[in-house]
């Protein structure tokens, strides 16, 4: 690097004593309001977001305010059809289905969020370092990712659960592991793409260190892609966890997890007591559909090669 480049860097720093130009801080709240309005005006974005928000509120407040507990048995009123005191009916042990679906919402949303975060952090870091460091570590790490991708996703999650011992916690580990290579591959290629852009070269020429370039220039540009993938992976996590619980690998029977509840109600469904299985199933369907619609819409809006300017 010649002295000329250095002096340019110093000039720029001198001209802006407050450091690099950031967003205008005074207008942040205004911009927040604008962003909120833009989200609400976009029906394809507002509807799935609203549905997910309602589901979160339902999960938080329903178990607090609802008088029936999810595990409270009432054998005299077992298999009761939906009524005023039990809007979604009762199951074979007389437990209130509404209370169980609400508690199930807590379990599904919390565990799926943890799974999504774990996958995004581990996979994202792997992708970031494979993409920015390159070389042998890139090759080794990506071969490991290929080995994970050699399994059909749900089957690998089943394998992990069987290997580590059955339970909701191991099922969550399994689903997280399955999602790691999705992030790793995606963010690696993003890192490679961003690394070759001119502004990275410019930052490098101005004397920015590798760490600074990664933290200030590469990572922020990866975030949109990461968020899109996280929204899609969240829906998948809800679905996969329910699937594992349904086959008996995830949450075990007394736990009001949606998949496990569907299994429990299975034998009653064809004899007329449909609500035991259908209610958790509908909650599952709503959550997963909303998450997949959200990730699709985010892809339309945030994809740099798409219509980013519209937001």
């Amino acid at each position: 690097m010649g002295p000329g480049t250095l002096s340019i860097g110093e000039d720029v720093a001198a001209a802006r004593p407050g450091g690099p130009p950031g967003p205008d801080r005074t207008s942040l709240s205004v911009r927040g309001g604008q962003a909120l309005r833009a989200v609400l005006a976009d029906r394809k974005l507002a509807v799935p977001l609203g549905v997910l928000a309602l589901m979160v509120l339902f999960a938080i407040f329903m178990p607090i305010f609802w008088s029936h507990g999810p595990d409270k048995q009432d054998l005299i009123n077992s298999l009761g059809s939906p009524s005023a005191s039990h809007p979604l009916g009762t199951d074979q042990l007389g437990r209130d289905v509404l209370a169980r679906v609400a508690t199930g919402a807590r379990i599904s949303l919390v565990v799926a969020t943890l799974v999504t975060l774990a996958g995004a952090i581990v996979g994202g870091l792997i992708g970031l370092f494979a993409g920015t460091l390159g070389g042998a570590s890139d090759g080794v790490v990506m071969r490991v990712m290929d080995a994970i991708l050699a399994f059909p996703p749900l089957i690998l999650a089943m394998a992990v659960t069987v290997g580590l011992g059955i339970g909701l916690d191991t099922a969550a580990i399994g689903v997280s592991l399955v999602s790691v290579p999705w992030y790793a591959r995606l963010l690696r290629s993003e890192a490679l793409r961003i690394r070759s852009l001119p502004f990275i070269e410019a930052a490098h020429a101005m004397g920015a260190t590798r760490g600074r370039i990664i933290a200030r220039h590469v990572v922020p540009h990866m975030l949109p892609v990461l968020f899109i993938q996280m929204a899609a992976a969240f829906g998948y996590a809800v679905l996969a966890l329910a699937g594992l619980s349904f086959v008996g690998l995830g949450a075990q029977v007394p736990t009001p997890e949606w998949g496990a509840m569907i299994t429990e109600g299975l034998s009653y469904s064809l004899t007329g007591q449909w609500w035991i299985s259908i209610c958790p199933g509908v909650a599952l369907l709503i959550t997963v559909t909303a998450a997949s619609m959200l990730s699709d819409r985010m892809r339309d809006l945030l994809d740099p090669r798409g219509q980013y300017a519209r937001l």
Binding site: R143, V144, D146, A147, I148, L149, A150, F151, P152, P153, L154, I155, L156, M158, A159, V160, V162, G163, L164, G165, G235, L239, A242, G243, F246, V247, G248, L249, G259, I262, L266, S269, L270, T271, G272, W274, S277, I278, G281, L284, L285, I286, T287, V288, T289, A290, A291, S292, M293, D296
Partner: protein, 341 residues
């Protein structure tokens, strides 16, 4: 071309190797003691040590891996802990039922996906397009086992038009003479139309449930491809030369839109493998999926392990086949590689 194929095959061998190492680590290294698992919590520690020695668990890891992998590829898949039958025999007995269901499901999934993708793109009617897109979202969000249940409630317990969860045939019907052991095909071969119809009716609901996630994926992919291809200049040229809309679509747009769906082959197989475990139990379908489901419940891990490893190998092979087939069908993939080779 030959070099590309060789590289791709090598890559797949690597993937299979990686997958088996991963499966070995998950199944053999991580968990508690498999011998303890087989013998149960009440077994003496001498018995556990003896069994450990007998199955070679006191050997070094690479020896264990070698045995694990050579046994698997030689077809020595061990014995079911719960009933002592050979795992290979159990899976072999159950496979035709699963294959028949998967093939049937694949056919209706493909037909539905192509049909609906055409419907939503052929004439630009926003309403049909919206319905098709909505259906694909819903299909994506519906867990297959839940759809299975819904279908049973609607078509069996409410409308009584399709058979319930009684397996491949009704109680009174006898299986046709075994040739392929796929009942629909065997019934046709034996000329028993009644049995054929009975077997077909039993396939419909599980077939729909098994295909739902692949359907929603395929219809989206096909729709996007069709929209893209129909805007290509060669379609305008074909129409300009006087081809009717449908002919231009059928001869020029559809084949081009169809090609990228081939790459979804691996994904569809993965859905079917996992889906069979999820939905066969709901329909009491006597296939590999319900065998695995029961094995999970009984903690009969020899069966589960074999199924997992078999799935991985099939998954890699199908992805390899898809890649190679793609190169054969689409000259655009092949020609640049010839130029660089």
């Amino acid at each position: 071309m030959g070099r590309v194929i060789a590289m791709r095959v090598l890559g797949s061998v690597g993937a299979v190797f990686g997958a088996t190492v991963l499966a070995f680590m998950i199944m053999r290294v991580l968990p508690g003691n498999p011998a303890r698992l087989i013998l149960g919590p009440l077994a003496t520690s001498q018995a556990v040590t003896a069994l450990n020695h007998h199955i070679g668990l006191d050997q070094p890891l690479y020896t264990q891996y070698w045995r694990y992998i050579s046994d698997f590829f030689q077809g020595n898949w061990g014995y079911s802990y719960s009933d002592g039958a050979s795992v290979r025999k159990l899976i072999g007995e159950r496979a035709p039922a699963t294959i028949e269901l998967a093939l049937f499901s694949f056919v209706i999934t493909m037909l539905a996906a192509v049909g609906l993708a055409l419907l939503s793109t052929y004439r630009h009617r926003p309403i049909t397009d919206r319905i098709v897109r909505g259906a694909s979202y819903l299909g994506f969000g519906t867990p297959p086992f839940f759809l299975a249940l819904l279908l049973l409630i609607v078509f069996f317990s409410t409308l009584h038009i399709l058979p319930g969860p009684e397996g491949r045939l009704g109680v009174q019907a006898a299986a046709p003479a075994a040739v392929t052991r796929m009942y629909t095909i065997d019934a046709l071969l034996a000329g028993e139309l009644g049995t054929f119809w009975e077997a077909l009716k039993h396939l419909i609901l599980p077939g729909l449930a098994l295909g739902i996630s692949s359907f929603s994926f395929l219809v989206r992919l096909l729709r996007a491809n069709l929209l893209e291809v129909s805007r290509e200049p060669f379609i305008t040229v074909a129409r300009g030369k006087g081809l009717r809309r449908w002919t231009a679509f059928r001869r020029h747009a559809l084949p081009n839109a169809f090609l990228p769906t081939l790459t979804a082959g691996g994904l569809v197989l993965g859905e079917f493998l996992a889906g069979s475990v999820l939905i066969e139990r709901v329909f009491n379908w006597p296939g590999v999926g319900s065998l695995v489901f029961d094995a999970i419940v009984k903690q009969d891990y020899a069966i589960v392990q074999t199924f997992i490893l078999l799935s991985a190998v099939m998954f890699v092979l199908v992805n390899l086949a898809v890649d190679l087939l793609y190169a054969v069908i689409d000259p655009r993939v092949r020609i640049p590689t010839v130029a660089t080779a």
